[in-house]
Each structure stands twice: as C-alpha cells, then as structure tokens.
C-alpha cells in the first residue's frame, strides 16, 4: 500500500516536471534594479508570459556593465537567451564579443537620434544631467560649471556607465579641449564614487550641490515623493544620451522566443511601464504620453551621442585624460 503510494507520488512529480518541460523557458539576464520589485521586470515577465506560453526567468547582474562581464566570464556557454540593459557606450565591446545574434527587430523609434542596429534593440533612454536643488544657481554648461564654485559628485568612468557617459559628453562637446575642462573642473568635483547609488546617496545627504544623474531624476521626486525641489541642469552644449539596449544571445536555444521578447520590450504595454519603473524615457511614446512630472525630452537643446566606433576609439584616451587631470 505504502509502496504503491510512493510510486504514484513519484509519478506525479515526474509528470509535473514533464509538464514544466513542455513550457519553454526564456532566461533573461538584466541588472538588479530592472528585475527588482520596483523595476519594470515583474510586470514584463507577467505580461510576456500571457502571450508567449513560456516561462520567463530572470538572472541578475549588479549593473549594466556587469551583464557583459558575466557573459564573458561564462565564455559564451550560458543558459541566457536575452540580455537586457546593456549601455549604448558598451555596444562596441558587446558586438566584438560575438555573443549576440541579429535581432530581427527594426521598428522605428522616437529616439532623437537615428538608431539602426541589426543586433541591439533599444528599450529606454535618457539624458545624463547634473541634478541639483531648485534653488542652487544653475550653470549653463560644463565649462561654466568648471569655472564656478559649485561642488558636484560624479561616478567613476572605470566602474560606472554614467561616469563613462560624462567623459564622452565632455569629449563630444569640447573635443581636444576636454583635458583643459577637466583640469578646471577638478576643484568642483567633491568626490568620485564607484556607482550611481553612492553618488546619489551623497547628494541626497546634502554633501554636494549636484550629482551626475539623468534629466528624468527629478520626475521620481515629483511623482513618488511629491517633492518638486529637484531639477536637472540643461546645458547649452547639449546633454549626452544613454540608450539602454537588449539583445538575443547567439547561443540561445529559443531564438524565436528571444525575438518575440525583444519585440515585446518595444510594445506599448512595456513602454508605458518604463517611465515610472525605470525612471527613463520610453523609446516609443506610449498612448497616454509621459506621466506628469516628466520634462519633455524635446526641451534638450542638443542630444549628444557618439557612434559606437567613435566611443570605442576614444574610450581609453578620454579616460586617461580625465584621470591625469584629476590625479594632479
């Protein structure tokens, strides 16, 4: 009697796992705040599962840059089907790694710059900006900031994507004058943090006048906290862009599902989620438009973005220029 019971339980378990195996699984590697309770991840998983007849499983890396380093540590032998959250400044390295396959997605976007890429699919974007209290006198350019007495916190370009964005920003706007700009800005940089969280934490604690973040940051304080006291500085030379992209792994055993997921990321359902979960701009304006509290991205004087070739070519020298100027 007992044996029979055990056998039937074992049979049930086998049956259950077989049933699970029938539903294909899509493994998505992303950064932790994307997949967390407060990010868009859970809603995207739920939404996609209703249309795909599959199971979405997230794996998390601690930030966007860690996604590529995780994949390179795994040396291509990975279960991951889709990577979500690579930064536009890292697409050259990502492309060179050979881990990723053409997306098959080429829908038009509302990005302020043309985006034609056979591999990387944008799903949100933003402008880097210094965020400050509304009553702090705002400079009109990086140059004016460098000449002021203001103190700012920035992120290290060697460990953080906003940090790298600032380096490329200075290079785009000032070219060979970037070195001189850094030399003059050295006394304005209170400190450099390893990542965005530390920098933003210091700023909120009142340590600095401004912090390198995004033009969309004030929207968080307005919408989530009802605090309109934070502003993003707009600079005359323009703001550098960050475009977050997703891509399918060449090694994926579910390429069709991966392509569907990439497409789903650009769908109205997901794009409407982006502003108040990831606090970035959607790449396609959802039907209801941007929530109140978000600035119109068109208000930026000039969007700055290097091609990935330019960015890759300048990467080492631009960082060394920055390091040398600030290490003095």
């Amino acid at each position: 009697m007992k044996t029979k019971y055990l056998i039937s339980v074992a049979g049930l378990c086998l049956g259950a796992s077989a049933a699970m195996a029938d539903v294909p699984e899509l493994t998505v590697l992303t950064y932790d705040s994307f997949a967390s309770e407060w990010g868009p991840g859970p809603a995207i998983k739920a939404g996609f599962e209703t249309v795909c007849d599959c199971t979405v499983t997230y794996q998390i890396a601690i930030d966007g840059a860690a996604i590529l380093s995780r994949l390179s540590l795994e040396g291509g032998a990975t279960k991951v089907d889709v990577a979500v959250g690579l930064d536009s400044a890292l697409t050259a390295a990502a492309r060179a790694s050979g881990f990723f396959a053409p997306s098959g997605v080429d829908e038009a976007t509302d990005l302020p710059v043309a985006w034609n890429d056979d591999i990387f699919v944008p799903f949100d974007w933003g402008y880097f900006a210094f965020v400050a209290d509304a009553d702090t006198p705002a400079p009109d350019s990086l140059r004016e900031l460098a000449d002021s007495d203001l103190k700012v916190v920035i992120e290290d370009p060697r460990s953080s994507t906003p940090g790298l964005g600032l380096i490329l920003w200075a290079k785009s706007a000032y070219g060979d004058g970037a070195g001189a700009l850094w030399a003059d800005m050295a006394d304005n940089i209170l400190t450099v943090t390893p990542g965005w969280s530390e920098a933003y934490g210091l700023f909120l604690n009142g340590e600095a006048d401004a912090v390198l973040s995004y033009t969309t940051s004030p929207a968080y304080h307005i919408i989530a906290e009802g605090d309109a006291g934070k502003v993003a500085w707009r600079f005359d030379e323009g703001q550098y862009m960050q475009i977050e992209v997703a891509a399918a792994l060449a090694s994926s055993d579910a390429p069709g599902l991966a392509r569907d997921f990439l497409r789903y990321l650009q769908s109205d359902a997901v794009q409407a989620l982006i502003p108040t979960t990831n606090w970035m701009y959607p790449v396609r304006m959802p039907e209801g438009g941007l929530p109140t509290g978000f600035d119109d991205p068109a208000a930026v004087v000039k969007p700055l973005l290097m091609t990935e070739g330019e960015a890759a070519a300048l990467h080492d020298t631009a960082i060394e220029e920055w390091r040398a100027a600030l290490a003095r």
């Binding site: 932790d32 705040s33 997949a35 967390s36 309770e37 407060w38 991840g41 499983t57 997230y58 794996q59 998390i60 890396a61 601690i62 930030d63 840059a65 860690a66 590529l68 380093s69 995780r70 390179s72 540590l73 795994e74 040396g75 032998a77 279960k79 890292l90 390295a93 790694s97 103190k151 290290d156 060697r158 460990s159 790298l164 050295a186 940089i189 209170l190 400190t191 450099v192 943090t193 390893p194 965005w196 969280s197 530390e198 933003y200 934490g201 210091l202 909120l204 604690n205 009142g206 340590e207 600095a208 940051s217 968080y220 989530a224 606090w279 060394e320 920055w322 390091r323 600030l326 290490a327």
Partner: protein, 513 residues
C-alpha cells in the same frame, strides 16, 4: 613536563587538509581568471600609481589605527564604568556594516553638510574638508580602530595581575618593564591585520578619496573585469595583490598570536597604577573621544534609518531570513575551519589562517564562479557560495580568536589528555570544546555579524528570490528609494549587533570552571 615536544592536539591531519585547501582555493581562483583570459595582461603607469596609493593608504591607516588603539585599549583595560560592555559591543559595529552605510554615517558627522562642519560654521570657523587622502584614512581608522583596540586589549588582559603587583612592590616603572614588552608582541599583529584589510579596500577609498588619485588595486581589478573585459590584466593585478598580502600575512603568521584573548572584553586588569587624577582624566577623555568618534556616525545611520522603517518593502522579511541563514552557515563554517587550524597550531597554519585577508572578495567570487561552473550550475547555489565566501572572509578573525586559547589549553591539558589516551574525538568533546566555549562564542558571533552585513559575492550570482538584506539595500538605492534603504541599513545594523551579542553571550553563560 613543560618541554613536551609533540603537538598533542587532535586532528592534525584535518588541519593540514584545511590549510592546503584554503591555499589551493585562492591560487586556483586567480589561475581560473588567467585561464579565461585572452592573452597575458599588461600593467600601465596608472596601475603602478594605484599600487603606490594602495600601499601608502594601507600603511597610514594601519599605523594610525594601531597607534590610536594603544591609549584606548589601555584606558579600557584599567577602567571599569557603567556601559563598558555596551560600548565595546557598539564599537565593533563599523567593522560589520555594509561599506556604503558606514560611509554615509561617517559623512553625516564629518562631511560637508555634517554635524561637525555645521557646528564649525556656527562658530564662524572654516569648514573641515574630509575628501582626499585624509578622508580615506579617517574612514579606515573608523572601520578598524575597534578591531585594533580589541587585539591590543587582549594583550593587556593577558598580563597577570601579579606582575603589576610585583612591579609595584619593586617600584619599577610599569611601561618599560611590563607594557612595552607586551605592546611589542601585540601591536605589530594589530598593525598587519589592519594593513591587510585596507589593502583590498575600494569603495571607501574611491568615495572618500575625492577622485582618481585614490585608485586602489581593487578598483583596477574591478575595472579590468567590468569595463575592459581584460581578464588577463585582472589576473595579473590579483596575483600582485595576493603577493603583497602573502608577504604581510606571512609576517603576521610569524608573529605570536597572543591577542583576541578570552576575557578581553570583560576583564578589567587589576592594577595599582593610574589612580591619580591626571591618569583618570586622560583615560576618561580617551574613552569619550573614541566613543563619540565611533558612535556618532552609527547614531546618524540609526536616525536616518528610523524614518525609512515604514517605507521598507515586504521583501525584507524573506531577505532577513536568507541573511540569517547565510550568516549562521558562514559562522559555523568559519568557526569550524578556524578551530581545526587552531587545534593544530604552528606557523604555517597561522599563515593559512590569515590568507583569506590576502584575496579580494571580488576575485574570490569570480574564481569560485568559474570553478563551480566546471561541475555544476552555480546560479541556484548563490546563497551557498555566499555563505562559503563570507566564511572564508571571517576565518582570519575567528582564527585569531581561537588560536591563542587553543594553544593555552593544549599546553595546560595536552599532556594529561595524551597520558589518558583520549582519542581525538574525545579530546574535542571533553576537553577543547568545553574549554574554548568563550572564544568559540566570540568567533561565531563575529563571523555571523560580519557575514550578515557584507554584501559579499551574492551580488555576482544572485537571482530574483535570493536577495539578502545588503543586496536588497543596494537594489533600493538603485531604484531611488534611499529612505527605505536607510531603514534596511538600520535593520542590518541591529541584526549584526544582535547576532554578535547572542553568540558572544552564549559562550559566557555557564562556562564552568
């Protein structure tokens, strides 16, 4: 019988296995990185600058921590006052907090908008700038002064009261005859321990260092892996860091480990000096200054955390459970390994016991990830691996707590146990475990608290549903929820202190004999 030639502790073979396994693990972690690399790495001038800065700040931090710990330990050793136990407990907190929490707490006091500068401003004085080299050293002293103090306090506690009485009756000055020899034996150990801990610093150095001048080797490794995808260079830097640490750890292994002694916490040395007013006032001032320096930032953490308590998400409860499980597992592993090594004793074992200080957690995490991937999918094992890595990180301190006590038991009772033909298991059960209750409680408490507060390598592996409290705190910060993150930080602070207190206390209750 004082000259008994053989080590009589049980399980000598097990200690050799543990020592070898630890060494092999660290060498393998670096080798795995190198094997994964596309070609050998090259070091540039920036890397050498990072090396210089790393060594320089570690030397200063260790020198100041050990130097300041001497008067503090002396004051604590000879004064008994209300709240002494609580002070000793809370003083250990900076060491076990997540780095970012401790840094924000420190800045709430010493930062640009901190209490100190607000007060200076109100008095019309110029503000004190913390960012830069002195900020890095200040933070490292904040983290490590309690540890150095405890190590040196152990030295004071180990001087028999009779020796003070003897010196007194012979009218010998105390310092050159009693205290200097003790300090000469204990201070170098404290110095090297802090030096090693500061060598692998990265977030503190960068955040408070004010810019790329404050680049450490650890940041260079991080950069090589995360942004340059240059594993060859990462392996080279890791090997360099390992080499430096190995030299320092060997130096420490050669030093007598007579610190973290049992009773260091609650034993007030009975002595007859320092009863005059000047000495009393000096001691009181030293203790007061240290308490303010160490506790004010913690109060800031607690204060800013109180507001965030209500904002914490429901996810903290399962995360709390996971953190507890990881901390308890790590504490048991660390203490078990440390006990195995301590029972054997000897210099090579001491070097192996200190080795984990020599490897950056980041490199160890990646090495473990690569190694495990050869046999098993490491991702579902994130918490197991984290417990293991945290245990290794806590091993040196657990070892330092246990080794001198185990040696004392071995010297006192080893011959008796041997002549009674007690087998190793019986010696462990009926001799070492009961005699080592207090240091075992201390080692368990310290490693549990360290593990609970450390972000650890869970960040490299974790998947949704595996978050620990520190990881959850970082996720909240990453999602702008600084207030809720502050609540989690306070919860972590409470958890770490509670774990330490419970174990340490458990070792003391009913410790017969």
């Amino acid at each position: 019988m004082a000259r008994s030639a053989r080590p009589l502790g049980p399980a000598r073979g097990a200690a050799a296995v543990v020592a070898l396994a630890i060494t092999a693990l660290f060498v393998a972690a670096i080798a795995m990185l190198a094997a994964q690399a596309q070609g050998a790495g090259r070091l540039g001038p920036a890397d050498w600058a990072a090396l210089r800065f790393t060594l320089w700040q570690a030397l200063w931090s260790a020198g100041l921590s050990a130097g300041l710990a001497v008067p503090l330990a002396r004051a604590l050793a000879r004064r008994r006052f209300w709240g002494r136990g609580a002070l000793m407990l809370v003083m250990g907190a900076p060491f076990i907090l997540p780095v970012i929490v401790a840094v924000l707490g420190l800045l709430a006091v010493f930062g640009r908008a901190g209490v100190l500068n607000v007060a200076l401003g109100a008095m019309g004085l110029p503000p004190l700038a913390i960012y830069g080299f002195k900020g890095v050293v200040l933070a490292h002293v904040f983290f490590n002064l309690p540890l150095a103090t405890r190590l040196i306090l152990g030295g004071w506690a180990s001087i028999p009261a009779e020796r003070f009485r003897l010196a007194q009756s012979l009218r010998l000055p105390l310092f050159p005859h009693i205290e200097r020899p003790m300090l000469r034996a204990v201070v170098p150990g404290a110095f090297v321990a802090v030096f090693l801990i500061c060598l692998t610093s990265f977030a503190v150095a960068l955040t408070l260092g004010g810019g790329p001048r404050a680049t450490t080797i650890e940041l260079a490794i991080y950069q090589a892996v995360r942004f340059d995808f240059d594993l060859g260079k990462a392996a080279l830097l890791a090997a360099l860091q390992f080499g430096i640490c190995l030299i320092a750890a060997s130096a420490m292994g050669l030093l007598p480990a007579r610190d973290l002694r049992d009773g260091a916490m609650d034993r007030v040395v009975v002595r007859w000096d320092g009863q005059d007013t000047a000495a009393r006032v000096t001691d009181a001032l030293v203790i007061l200054l240290a308490a303010v320096f160490l506790i004010a930032p913690l109060l800031a953490v607690a204060f800013s955390g109180l507001g965030g308590f209500g904002a914490m998400p429901a996810a903290i409860w399962p995360a709390l459970g996971r953190t507890l499980a990881v901390a308890l597992a790590a504490a048991c592993i660390a203490t078990g390994l440390a006990l195995t090594l301590a029972l054997r004793g000897g210099r090579l074992v001491a070097v192996a016991g200190h080795l984990p200080l020599a490897v950056s957690p980041f490199v160890l995490g990646m090495g473990l990830f690569l190694m495990l991937r050869l046999v098993v999918n490491p991702l579902p094992l994130a918490l197991v691996i984290t417990a293991l890595a945290n245990a290794l990180a806590a091993l040196p301190l657990a070892y330092r707590a246990l080794a001198p006590e185990a040696r004392a038991v071995r010297l006192a009772y080893g011959p008796l146990a041997a002549s009674l033909a007690m087998p190793p298991a019986a010696q462990l059960r009926h001799l070492y475990l009961p005699r080592l209750r207090r240091p075992l409680g201390f080692a368990l408490g310290l490693s549990a608290a360290l593990s609970a507060g450390d972000l650890g390598i869970v960040a490299l592996f974790a998947n949704p549903g595996q978050e620990t409290l520190p990881l959850l705190m970082y996720q909240l910060m990453g999602a702008y929820r600084m207030e809720a993150a502050g609540g989690v930080a306070l919860l972590l602070l409470g958890l770490s202190l509670a774990l330490f207190w419970l174990f340490d206390r458990g070792g003391r209750i009913d410790a017969r004999g």
